[in-house]
């Protein structure tokens, strides 16, 4: 699950804005929770943000200094960098409903 999967938007008419969603997933090594989080995120993005998202995975075991920037404590943590405001979702993203609320996608549906 090495870094960035990016897909450019092809259906700009889909909703109010067609901006790119920038998501960053922090993990610490290949733990079951991390792997689960990545696949859950992927699935959610594919179904709700198809083609408009970019996921960046940061492994803190390899880059511990990066944990400061986004104030990461919990692992895994998903940070919505764009669109603003920044939101943080912690956990393995198994609760899809909560992820959607957290990402502010639920209300839009």
């Amino acid at each position: 699950m090495k870094a960035s999967t990016a897909k450019q938007p092809d259906s700009a008419s889909r909703r109010r804005e067609s901006k790119l969603w920038q998501l960053r997933l922090y993990v610490a090594g290949q733990t079951p929770k991390s792997v689960a989080a990545f696949s859950n995120l992927k699935a959610i993005c594919e179904s709700h943000l198809e083609g408009r998202y970019r996921i960046e995975v940061i492994d803190l075991v390899e880059h511990p200094q990066l944990s400061k920037g986004d104030q990461i404590l919990a692992i895994p943590t998903l940070v919505r960098k764009l669109p603003e405001p920044v939101r943080k979702i912690i956990g393995d993203l198994s609760d899809t409903e909560r992820v959607l609320v957290g990402l502010d996608l639920r209300s839009a549906d």
Binding site: A28, S67, L73, R87, G91, V99
Partner: protein, 586 residues
């Protein structure tokens, strides 16, 4: 003290300790916090948890060569840096020199959504990174409980905290974890459950509107420690705990003496005044002249070339200088030449701890040889009995350890023979002078006793204490059958004695004169008798002569008669047994 790896250290019999460098705390804990283990510091808001933790790190980095990580969950790095800068700690510099790492962990619950399983590996990674980046031996987590507010799932959090403390131990760092005081337990979220090696409780209590800080080591597994509650100060140089009971008594005792500035008082104290470096208590009711004696002592010391620091809690320096001028003491030139320095403050200005820390600071800065506190009783009202005794002990100890002579005045109230706090304090003192009011004959007079003076032969006599425009003098009080007389009574008594002496003098002169007269009379009598005698003797002689004359006349007459009778002349001339002539002559 060389550090040993924690794994092997845990196997040694004696628990290795990690000195905090905080004044007094290392004494209470007998060496510091348990090395390589977490210590919990809990207390309410504003009682100095963060400061204690910060000082632990700074001393570690500066004095013990142990770099440290400060992980803050509340304040930003900039805030912490500026907070402790007021205590003279330059965190920014330590960070630059890689002796310290500051990490601010920020958690905003509203930004966080929980979606399933997670752990706090991020925190571990961060902490690990910070520790490894500077080779830290000490870690502070301030305040870990912020996590409870920031993270929704307490079950996960607790499990992770347990893992964190385990991890810290394995890492071999000495950690200080701060936590808020809880209502029914030591900490709000029961952190003491996880940190079981050492728990320190801080407390900031307000008694009678005066706030005092206390520190107590609640628990220290595997080591002896002072269990009392110890008052502590936050001064300009950080935290300092005063462990009253564990203070050593091993100051040097100089044998030099210093004059009291009152010659007669010196005489009462074995002729040479107080010992240098001793502590002197001066008690008295209002208006007995405590400040005057203190000022006299101060002037004498300053003139001798000793620096004098005068803490005044009742009068302003100018007022003291003015008042002392009236009894002939010139303090201004001494103040101008910086031999004498006043520090005046209202006792109610701040709590006892702050007063004492100010005093410590002043003493350290001015380096006096003599310190005067006038009066200490003002400070006593700023705290409870027990606290103040502790603080006074600490102050005296501080001064003694620097061989500073201290004179402390204390106000007693008339009626109390010796006030309790005084007698408690007096045991700490080397010399105790008592100033007393003697009331009688419509006037009040001052008297002075030396109640105690350790290590010197001192007078046990009461002295009348006179304050005039030429200064202070002591005179012998009159002690007679009617008790101790002072003032006008003493003067009257002296006059009476003089009159009596004069009278008796006159009396003896009269008696002498009478005696002389008597002797004269006797001599006259003797002379009279002698002349009588001589008269009589003369008469006797005369009689003798007459008798002689008569005999010769008779003889002549008889001879004549015989001749006339024509008796035998020879027979007459040679009388025999028959004397017809003599018979016939008769």
């Amino acid at each position: 003290m060389k550090r040993r790896p924690p794994k092997s250290a845990s196997r040694t019999r004696r628990l290795p300790k990690c000195p905090t460098g905080i004044q007094g705390l290392d004494e209470i804990t007998r060496g510091g916090l348990p090395r390589g283990r977490p210590t919990l510091v809990c207390g309410g808001a504003g009682c100095g948890k963060t400061l204690l933790a910060a000082e632990f790190l700074v001393h570690g980095a500066v004095r013990f060569g142990e770099p440290g990580v400060f992980m803050s969950f509340e304040e930003t790095a900039a805030e912490i840096t500026s907070n402790v800068a007021s205590l003279g700690f330059d965190l920014a510099d330590l960070v630059r020199r890689k002796k310290l790492a500051l990490d601010h962990v920020y958690l905003e619950r509203s930004e966080i959504h929980e979606t399933g399983e997670y752990d706090l590996e991020g925190l571990f990674v961060r902490l690990n990174h910070a520790i490894d980046s500077i080779g830290a031996k000490r870690v502070v987590l301030d305040t870990l409980e912020a996590l409870f507010a920031g993270l929704p799932n307490e079950t996960i959090l607790r499990a992770e905290l347990r893992r964190l403390f385990r991890w810290l131990k394995d890492k071999g760092v000495t950690a200080v974890i701060t936590a808020e005081r809880g209502r029914e337990q030591l900490t709000r979220h029961g952190l003491e459950e996880y940190v079981s090696d050492c728990v320190i409780l801080l407390d900031h209590r307000v008694d009678d509107q005066i706030a005092t800080r206390h520190l107590r080591v609640v628990k220290y597994r595997g080591a002896l420690h002072g269990t009392n509650e110890f008052p502590f100060l936050i001064g300009d140089d950080g935290l300092s705990v005063s462990p009253i009971s564990s203070l050593g008594l091993n100051h040097k005792a100089p044998s030099g003496r210093i004059s009291t500035g009152i010659p007669r008082l010196d005489a009462m104290l074995g002729g040479r005044g107080f010992f240098r470096g001793s502590s002197i208590l001066l008690t008295g009711t209002p208006g007995t002249g405590k400040t005057s004696v203190a000022a006299c002592f101060a002037q004498a010391a300053a003139q001798r070339g000793d620096r004098v620091l005068f803490f005044s809690f009742e009068e302003s320096p100018n007022q003291i200088i003015r008042n002392m001028r009236s009894i002939g003491l010139r303090l201004e030139p001494l103040v101008e030449n910086r031999w004498l320095r006043f520090h005046a403050a209202r006792p109610t200005l701040c709590g006892l701890e702050l007063h004492l820390s100010t005093m410590f600071k002043e003493v350290t800065a001015f380096k006096p040889a003599v310190v005067i506190v006038d009066p200490i009783t003002s400070l006593l009202v700023a705290g409870t009995d027990f606290e103040t005794k502790g603080m006074v002990t600490r102050m005296l100890d501080f001064l003694k350890s620097r061989q500073i002579t201290s004179l402390v005045t204390s106000l007693t109230h008339s009626g109390h023979a010796l006030q309790q706090s005084e007698s408690a304090m007096s045991s700490l003192m080397d010399a105790w002078l008592l100033l007393k009011d003697l009331d009688g004959n419509g006037e009040r007079n001052r008297a002075l006793y030396v109640l105690k003076a350790r290590g010197m032969a001192h007078s046990n006599q009461i002295r009348e204490f006179l304050i005039s425009d030429r200064g202070i003098d002591l005179v012998d009080a009159y002690i007679g059958p009617s008790g101790v007389l002072t003032g006008a009574s003493r003067v009257a008594q002296a006059a009476r004695e003089r009159a009596e002496a004069l009278a008796s003098q006159q009396d003896s002169a009269g008696r002498k004169r009478a005696l002389a007269r008597k002797r004269e009379q006797l001599e006259q009598q003797i002379a009279g008798l002698r002349s009588d005698y001589e008269q009589e003797a003369g008469e006797l002689r005369r009689i003798d002569e007459q008798v002689g004359t008569r005999t010769s006349v008779l003889t002549a007459e008889r001879t004549e008669l015989a001749r006339l009778r024509q008796a035998d002349a020879i027979k007459v001339a040679a009388p025999g047994p028959r004397k017809p002539v003599a018979r016939g002559a008769r």
